[in-house]
C-alpha cells in the first residue's frame, strides 16, 4: 500500500503532521510499538529536514507485509557534503531555524540510527532523495 504526504518548505507549524498521519496507519497494522517509534523518529527528522532546508517535497510510504520503505524526495539545495551531514552536531541550518529549536545537526545521524537501511541520493543545487527501509520481522 502506498501513501504520500506533501511537505511544504519553511512551514514549521506542520512539522510532524505527515509522521503523525503515518503513525495512525501503522497502529492499524499490528506493528510492534518499538518499531513504530523508530519509524516515527526517522520520518519526523526527515520531514523537518525538508521543511528547514528544501524548496518543498514529499514523503512516499510503501507499506508491505515484512518491510516499510519510506522515500523522502525534495527539490532544493541538496547536500553538498554528505560525510559532513552525517556527522552528529554538524548543521547548515540558518539562525532562524535554530531559534525554532531545530537544526541541532542530529537529523541525518538520527535517521541512520533508527532505520535498517538508508540510501541518500543528492545533487548540490538540485534535489535530495532519501530512502529508508524498516524491517518488520519480529526480533530484528
Amino acid at each position: 500500500m502506498r501513501q504520500e504526504y506533501l511537505v511544504p518548505a519553511q512551514d514549521f507549524s506542520v512539522a510532524g503532521v505527515a509522521s503523525s498521519n503515518l503513525k495512525r496507519l501503522l497502529k492499524q497494522l499490528n506493528i510492534n510499538p518499538f518499531t513504530i517509534k523508530r519509524i516515527m523518529v526517522a520520518v519526523f527528522e526527515a520531514e523537518v529536514n525538508v521543511i528547514a532546508h528544501s524548496y518543498g517535497g514529499r514523503i512516499v510510504c510503501d507499506l508491505e507485509e515484512e518491510e516499510i520503505t519510506i522515500q523522502v524526495i525534495d527539490t532544493g539545495p541538496g547536500i553538498p557534503n554528505l560525510d559532513l551531514a552525517m556527522t552528529e552536531g554538524w548543521s547548515t541550518a540558518s539562525e532562524q531555524v535554530r531559534e525554532l529549536g531545530y537544526g541541532a545537526g542530529m537529523g541525518l545521524p538520527n535517521i541512520k540510527k533508527n532505520c535498517d537501511h538508508l540510501t541518500i541520493q543528492t545533487k548540490a543545487g538540485e534535489h535530495t532523495h532519501i530512502t529508508m527501509l524498516f524491517c518488520l520481522k519480529e526480533g530484528e
Binding site: 500500500m1 510532524g16 509522521s19 503523525s20 503513525k23 496507519l25 497502529k27 492499524q28 497494522l29 499490528n30 506493528i31 510499538p33 513504530i36 517509534k37 516515527m40 523518529v41 519526523f44 507499506l63 508491505e64 507485509e65 515484512e66 518488520l136
Partner: protein, 445 residues
C-alpha cells in the same frame, strides 16, 4: 499481550437502551456500536472510564454494585477509604461523624487510602519507569487508555504501587495477627477501579477482599447520620482522623500529584482533554516535562462516576481540610510505618504494563494491509457526516467495520436516502449481510 480475562464493570441494560448513540459518540476508545437498536460495548476496547454511563439519558448503562453485606464474611473488616469519600458529605457533618458512621455500618478498622502516599515517601520508594515524561499510573482508566490507544507511551507509565495498594499492604501487615478472619475492602469512586479489582490476577484482586461503591456506602452512612442525629452530634470533635500529610490528602485532586514532583510537571483532567494531550505527546520527539498527572474524570477522583456531591464543592472541601493538616507525619505514625517496612521490601513496584495491540485491523499483517486499503476506498464513498445513524461513531469507524466484515455499507442512512441504487451496488462490492460487531447477523439490510 492479550488479556482476555479483563473484567468490565459496565454493562448495557437492553430493556432501557434506546440506541440513541450518545454513549457511542462519547466513548474515548470507540468501543461502542449500536446493533439492532441497542448499544453494545466491545470488551476488548472498553477501559471502564464510565463516560458512557455519565452521558446516557436513559440510565441504560449499569455499573456493578456489590452489596455491603459482603462485609459479614469476615470477623475483622478493614475499610481503605479514599479522602474524596469524606468530601461527599456537606459541611454539616464532620469527618469524625462520617467516620463513626462508617464503623457503624460494619467496618472494624478504617485506614485512609492517602496514607499510602506518605508511606511511599517514608520508605523512599524509587520510580522504575524508564522513559520521560513519567505518566502517573494513579488513574486506572488512563493507564488502560494508554495501553490500548497509545502503545508508544506504555513505557512512560509509572510503576510504583498506588497509595491505596500501599495502604492495604500496610493494614494487612499491621493486623496480620488477626489472620484469615481479616477482610480488606476498598471504597471506589469509579468504574475503572472496580474493573481492576475484579480482574483475576490483578494486584487489586490479590490485595483486596471486596470493593464497595461510593454511592452504596454514602447511602448507608447518610441513613445512619439522619436516623440517629443525637448520637453522632456528640462526636463532634473536629477534623482529627486523617493520618496523612497535607499533600497526601490532596493527592487525588487535580495537581495533587504534579505539584509535588521535582522538575517540570503538568496535570490534565477530563477524558477528552487527556486524549487531546496524549495525541500530541505521542508525536512529541523531545519534551522538557518530567511528570504528567492525567485524570480521566474532571477534577480528578472527586469527579468519579460513583460520587454523589458536586465535584467542585468536594474539591474545595478537601482543600479546606488539608490546610488544617501538618506537612510532616506524626512521629508515632512514622514509627508504625517503619515497623512494617519489611512487608514492603522489594514490594513497592509493579511489573511493567504491556501495550495491548487491539487497534489493529487484523492479526495477520498482510490481511491488515489489504483491509487498510479497503478502508481508504470505502471511506471515499461515505458522506463524511459522522452522523452515527449507521451504529458506528464515525464514517471512518463504519469503513473499518465494513473492511473487517463486521458491518454492511447498507447501514449508511445518508447513502440510502441519496441514492439507493448506488448503495446497492456499493454494498455488493463490499459484501452482503455481514455480521455486526457483536457477532449477530445484521438484519438491517
Amino acid at each position: 499481550m492479550s488479556d482476555a480475562g479483563f473484567h468490565h464493570s459496565l454493562q448495557v441494560l437492553n430493556d432501557a437502551c434506546k440506541g440513541c448513540t450518545h454513549c457511542m459518540k462519547r466513548c474515548p476508545t470507540g468501543a461502542i456500536r449500536i446493533a439492532k437498536g441497542k448499544a453494545w460495548i466491545s470488551a476488548e476496547l472498553c477501559i471502564d472510564c464510565g463516560q458512557c454511563m455519565a452521558v446516557c439519558p436513559n440510565d441504560a448503562i449499569k455499573i456493578e454494585q456489590d452489596p455491603l453485606s459482603q462485609l459479614q464474611r469476615f470477623t475483622y473488616r478493614v475499610g481503605i477509604i479514599p479522602a474524596p469519600f469524606f468530601a461527599q458529605f456537606p459541611d454539616t457533618f464532620t469527618v469524625t461523624q462520617v467516620l463513626s458512621a462508617l464503623y457503624d455500618i460494619g467496618f472494624t478498622h478504617i485506614y485512609l487510602a492517602e496514607t499510602g502516599v506518605d508511606i511511599l515517601d517514608i520508605l523512599e520508594a524509587k520510580e522504575k519507569a524508564q522513559a520521560l515524561p513519567l505518566i502517573s499510573n494513579f488513574c486506572p482508566a488512563v493507564q488502560r487508555l494508554i495501553q490500548i490507544r497509545y502503545p508508544l507511551l506504555v513505557e512512560n507509565l509509572t510503576r510504583l504501587r498506588s497509595p491505596a495498594q500501599v495502604t492495604a499492604i500496610f493494614a494487612k501487615s499491621e493486623l496480620k495477627a488477626l489472620g484469615e478472619s481479616l477482610g480488606i475492602f476498598y471504597l471506589t469512586p469509579c468504574a475503572a477501579k472496580i474493573a481492576q479489582f475484579k480482574t483475576e490476577g490483578s494486584e487489586e484482586h490479590r490485595l483486596f477482599d471486596g470493593i464497595i461503591n461510593f454511592d452504596t456506602a454514602y447511602n448507608q452512612v447518610s441513613t445512619l447520620l439522619a436516623r440517629d442525629k443525637e448520637k453522632y452530634a456528640n462526636q463532634n470533635i473536629g477534623f482529627t482522623f486523617p493520618h496523612c500529610t497535607r499533600k497526601a490528602l490532596r493527592w487525588s485532586l487535580v495537581k495533587g500529584q504534579s505539584s509535588n514532583q521535582s522538575g517540570r510537571a503538568l496535570a490534565v483532567d477530563e477524558m477528552h482533554n487527556v486524549i487531546e494531550f496524549l495525541d500530541i505527546l505521542e508525536d512529541e520527539q523531545e519534551t522538557s516535562l518530567r511528570f504528567l498527572e492525567l485524570d480521566a474524570c474532571a477534577e480528578g477522583c472527586v469527579g468519579g462516576i460513583l460520587t454523589v456531591r458536586n465535584r467542585f464543592l468536594a474539591t474545595e472541601q478537601l482543600r479546606h481540610w488539608s490546610t488544617a493538616l501538618p506537612k510532616e507525619l506524626s512521629q508515632d505514625l512514622v514509627e508504625r510505618i517503619l515497623v512494617q517496612s519489611p512487608s514492603f521490601e522489594n514490594n513497592l513496584c509493579l511489573k511493567a504494563p504491556q501495550p495491548m495491540q487491539v487497534m489493529g485491523l487484523d492479526k495477520d499483517r498482510s490481511k491488515a494491509l489489504q483491509k487498510l486499503e479497503k478502508v481508504d476506498r470505502i471511506l471515499a464513498a461515505l458522506p463524511g457526516i459522522d452522523c452515527g445513524l449507521c451504529g458506528c461513531p464515525s464514517c471512518l469507524a463504519l469503513a473499518q467495520d465494513v473492511a473487517k466484515s463486521q458491518a454492511s455499507l447498507r447501514q449508511c442512512v445518508v447513502l440510502k436516502l441519496k441514492d439507493p441504487k448506488e448503495l446497492n451496488s456499493l454494498a455488493r462490492i463490499w459484501g452482503e449481510r455481514p455480521t455486526t460487531a457483536n457477532g449477530q447477523k445484521d438484519d438491517q439490510a
